[in-house]
Structures are given as structure tokens and as C-alpha cells.
Amino acid sequence: MEERDGGAGGFRKETVDRLLRLHFRDGRTRVNGDALLLTAELLKVFVREAAARAARQARAEDLERVDIEHVEKVLPQLLLDF
């Protein structure tokens, strides 16, 4: 579980750090290393969940291709679950 690289496995620590700090209201707020890794995991789960649910929706409609409307259908529940 030493994936620092964000390409194949998930988000890079630096990217997550910048993403969070972009939206912090206080300039002094920082994120510690473990929290960054955990947030990266959380985001990875979020993306995979979105993709998997959309795929499930597409398959339920007997399609092989996941399109944006499938994402739209699963989006409300996804956001509630997160």
C-alpha cells in the first residue's frame, strides 16, 4: 500500500493537498500527511463508486456503454451516501 503515484491507483498527495487548500477559507488551515492519504482514498472510493453505479445502471438498461444519463440517474443517491 505504498502507492504515492496517483496515476494508476489514485490521487497524488500533492493534488489532494492543493485541491483542499483551494477551498479553505482560512489561509492557515493545513492538512497533515495521514489526512491527505485518507482523503485521497476517500476520493478514490467516490470515483469508483460513481463509475460502478453508473455502469450498473447502464447494464440494468441492457447497454454496454455507460453514458452521461446513467451518471445522472445515480448521482442523487451517490451524493446522499457521501
Binding site: 496517483g6 483542499l20 487548500r21 488551515t29 492519504l37 476517500l42 470515483v47 469508483r48 455507460v66 451518471v71
Partner: protein, 163 residues
């Protein structure tokens, strides 16, 4: 001419003041926009990779618009996460967001909370392992003698064989 220059400086000064204030805001805004574009691109790339994994897993294809949509949604969700995390930390009277704050973020789904808590424990134990390794290194460095270092190296390699 010399007199003319400072004169227009008065109304020009106002204009310059306003425009330099505006220019600085615009520059800050531009920088921020640039940062946002770069971050969106980074997110899009990783989302693409993750969707590729899921596509292979489920034997389905994702349209480009789908990946773009998930990427946009993820980017926006980060804003919610960031604001929540900042508030959690502030609520605990801290200015640094910690793992505890992230766990709180994952509270809405039991399985998600369990997963994140498990990851957090893995991190804690790997951090402790790193500290142990550092202690060993620093203690063998303090000893300083070659013989002792060789012994420590042999002991460590034996441990790794046993592990």
C-alpha cells in the same frame, strides 16, 4: 511637459489606483483560475484511470462525456469535503486537518466509515514501523563501530528472511 505629467497623474492616479487594484485582483483571480484548470486536469486524469479500472472490471465502456462528468462531480465534491474538513478541524480548535476529521467526513455510510477507519489504522501501523526503523538506524549510528553495524545489518537481514 513636466508639469503636465504629474497633473494627469491625479485623475490618472485614480484610474491607475482603480485599475491596479482591479489588475491585481484580476491577476490573483487569473492565477486562481489557472490553478483550478490545472487541478481539474489532474483530477480528470486520475478519474480516467480509475474509470478504466472499473470498465475492465465490469466489462463495460465509459463514454468520454461520462468520464468528464464524473471528473466534474468529483472536483465539486472536493469543495464540500474541504469546507467540512476545515470546519471539523476548527471545531476541535485545530488549524491542521487530521485523520480524525477525514473519518468524520466518511460518517454517512457504515461500510465507507469502516473502510476509511481500516485505512487509517493501516497508516498508523506503517508509521510506527517507520519510526522503529529510524530508531534502529539512529541507535546503530550512535554506536558507530563497524563491527556493531555489521551485526545490526546481519540481524536486520535475518529478520527480513523470517518475515
Amino acid at each position: 511637459m513636466a508639469a503636465a505629467r504629474p497633473r494627469p497623474a491625479a485623475p490618472g492616479g485614480k484610474r491607475r489606483g482603480a485599475s491596479s487594484g482591479g489588475a491585481m485582483e484580476a491577476a490573483g483571480g487569473e492565477e486562481r483560475q489557472l490553478l483550478i484548470q490545472r487541478l481539474k486536469a489532474a483530477v480528470h486524469y486520475t478519474v480516467g484511470c480509475l474509470c478504466q479500472d472499473v470498465a475492465e472490471d465490469k466489462d463495460m465502456q465509459f463514454s468520454k462525456q461520462t468520464i468528464a462528468a464524473i471528473s466534474e462531480i468529483t472536483f465539486r465534491q472536493c469543495e464540500n469535503f474541504a469546507k467540512d474538513l476545515e470546519m471539523f478541524a476548527r471545531h476541535a480548535k485545530r488549524s491542521t486537518v487530521t485523520a480524525e476529521d477525514v473519518k468524520l467526513l466518511a460518517r454517512r455510510s457504515n461500510s465507507l466509515l469502516k473502510y476509511i477507519t481500516q485505512k487509517s489504522e493501516e497508516l498508523v501501523s506503517s508509521n510506527m514501523e517507520q519510526k522503529e526503523r529510524k530508531k534502529k538506524k539512529s541507535s546503530s549510528a550512535k554506536a558507530g563501530r563497524t563491527a556493531e553495524e555489521q551485526e545490526a545489518a546481519v540481524a536486520e537481514s535475518e529478520d527480513s528472511n523470517m518475515a
